[in-house]
Amino acid sequence: MTTASSLTLACPAPFAVLDRVQLGHGSGGKMSAALVRERFLPHLENRALAQLGDGSVVNVGGVDVVVSTDTFVVSPLEFPGGDIGSLAVHGTLNDLAMMGARPVCLTAGFVLEEGLPLSLLDRIVQSMAEAAQRAQVPIVAGDTKVVERGKADGLYINTTGIGAADAQFRPQPHLAREGDAVIVSGAIGRHGMAIMAAREGLAFETTITSDSACLISLVDDLRNAEIEVHVLRDPTRGGVASALNEIAAASAVGIEIDESALLVPSDVRAACEVLGLDPLYVANEGVLLAFVAPAHIESALTTLRAHPLGRNAVQIGRVLADHPGAVALRTWLGGTRIVDLLPGDQLPRIC
């Protein structure tokens, strides 16, 4: 990292060394990656963690078990299309599903803020229970802590998922190869824009609902159809752009996507235009990216489209040997631009 003192002579704007956590560290972009790489891995390094996937595979008495954990801090707690409870169940189950695991159980930890209405807590826990029931995965352990008013944003939830690994079906971020089709299971940008629109301070009304959904059965359909899937990823925070960048880096391949193939609902696009945001970087909670072997493209699309969550599945791009580590987007007009990881949060543009 450059130091401020070495810059004072030559640069117009010396950039100070970061010495505190910023919101951008939670964005899913470069700052998040650097935080994990520089602050966590040096202390916690081990073989399972080094996989840096959505979860880890650990061997328990000769059986491969998949473990994944996720913490949910969404505001508002209830939003069009979901709430923090169902989101906390879907999010962790989806992480297991992206590793090809069959979920076995969940745990849930709650941080509650003094003053949280119990009626709201009831609704959220009930929503969790219903989401877990629909997925047929029990919540088998839990914990609650209460903090003083002002020390938490109503309620935080951590969920951990345990699943059984599937020896035959184990997609991983580093397995993308040249020729793979990049398929997205549905329309993008809904969750992030639903949250933004619901958040206090945005004076416009929209009809956007979150896509929050459990993707286990969609992945099961791919598994049962014996589709050769190399990588599965749910493009949550940081959106499709960040997920593709991580896969391109992990697999050391180039990825090219076709802008015209991306399905962005018109209300999401309109909200993004108004706010100066790019839907490619907006979070999804019910969409998956699948990297599929060339011979299986049609069958993968047919399989996905037969499922309610995959009705709008479409191939958006392919994996290339060129420009390893970089994601290029072919614009609707035939131009090219690079879709990079954002440094931190996506900031609304002035002009």
Binding site: P12, H323, G335, P348, R349
Partner: protein, 374 residues
């Protein structure tokens, strides 16, 4: 989507590109003034599609790029005060000041809020009467009416805990300064459509005549920009130097008189520093004396803070088209999108960031071109 999809239609855009290529008998260099236009050009790859026919120089019309270090530093001082809620448009949060940026101030405990309208900042002041709310009034003539309106409305409502840190600049003096520079390469301008929707285009007529340079008032969608380029190429090919209006659906010659009046009510012209370029006479706005109580610099005693930009800063040469980003000695080494030194590396459509990404994509290590530093 109405009013968008029809301006992003490949069936219209492709023939326009061909038309530009057929019309140009040589390669022309033109500048799109506004950051919003740069955004479209870079995102849609229009510069790549016109390679060898038209070279687009990304102009200084981006508030993120040209707000001077001095004003950023004042923003940082204000945002760090415990009694202040500092409200800003989103992308100003990453602009580095002398020591840090607004995001870091927020991490250190400052209250920094992203707002989409200055009137939202005024609303914050009305909700938080125990705090001082300061809005960072940056931008060109486009944001000036709304910013003026917020101040005007604050006075009308008697809101005392609201003030603005003004860093307003105007387009015509910058165009004149670029044309007057001895090593200028710009042969035509795409003027900023939204600036002209407020101000009209009469101010540009003397500039076009004096410097014999075509100026086309242009919109922001891909087809707007291609049309604007075609109109400019036609002028260049026929030796004309006029102000023309491509953006007819938004811009009239006289602009929007009501908005202009509100700007004139609240602001007066003043010399302004531009980051990387320096001071341009009568190129910006400040609050008129009768609105002085809403001037954050005066309210918080920041009038005497002056920060000089280092003389060897190259951002200005990039912003005026005299230097290509890879010709800057810091490019790709000390200055990258993760650690921007200058403003054009900050936003993804900044000229330097655009070159940086393209080099990486083409498998080249993006570094400074040896020996070209001026």
């Amino acid at each position: 989507m109405k009013f968008l999809s029809e301006y992003r239609d490949a069936a219209i855009a492709r023939p326009l590109i061909e038309h530009i290529k057929r019309t140009a008998t040589r390669s022309w260099t033109m500048m799109e003034v506004c950051g919003g236009q740069t955004h479209t050009i870079v995102r849609q790859g229009l510069d790549e599609l016109l390679e060898g026919v038209v070279e687009m120089i990304h102009g200084p019309g981006c508030p993120v790029c040209v707000t001077p270090l001095e004003q950023i530093d004042k923003a940082l001082i204000l945002a760090a005060r415990p009694d202040v809620i500092f409200a800003s448009f989103g992308d100003m949060l990453r602009v580095p000041g002398s020591s840090c940026d607004l995001q870091q101030i927020r991490a250190q405990g400052g209250t920094v809020r992203i707002v989409y309208s200055p009137l939202d900042a005024l609303e914050l002041a009305r909700r938080h009467t125990d705090r001082e709310v300061v809005f960072f009034a940056v931008g060109f003539e486009t944001t000036a009416p709304a910013n003026a309106m917020a101040v005007w409305r604050a006075r009308q409502l008697g809101v005392r805990n609201f003030s603005v840190l003004v860093s307003h600049v105007t387009v015509p003096p910058a165009i004149a300064a670029i044309m007057a520079a001895p090593d200028n390469r710009v042969q035509a301008f795409l003027a900023a459509g939204h600036v002209c929707s407020v101000m009209g285009w009469t101010e540009y007529e003397p500039i076009a005549a004096r410097y014999h340079v075509p100026i086309v008032v242009t919109g922001f969608e891909p087809i707007d920009i291609l049309e604007g380029i075609l109109m400019a190429v036609r002028q260049l090919e026929t030796g004309r130097a006029e102000v023309e209006n491509q953006y007819v659906r938004s811009v009239r010659r006289e602009g929007t008189p009501a908005a202009r009046l509100r700007v004139e009510d609240v602001f007066e012209l003043v010399d302004r520093k531009w980051r990387g370029i320096g001071e341009i006479p009568m190129s910006g706005f400040r609050l008129r004396p009768e609105f002085a109580e809403y001037d954050a610099e005066r309210k918080f005693g920041l009038d005497d803070i002056h920060v000089d930009e280092p003389a060897d800063c190259h951002a200005g040469e990039v912003l005026t088209g005299r230097l290509k980003p890879p010709q800057c000695p810091a490019f790709g080494t000390r200055c990258t999108p993760d650690h921007p030194l200058g403003a054009p590396m900050i936003s993804s459509e900044g000229a330097c960031a655009a070159y940086y990404h393209l080099a990486r994509y083409r498998g080249v290590q993006p570094t400074a071109t040896a020996g070209l530093a001026s």
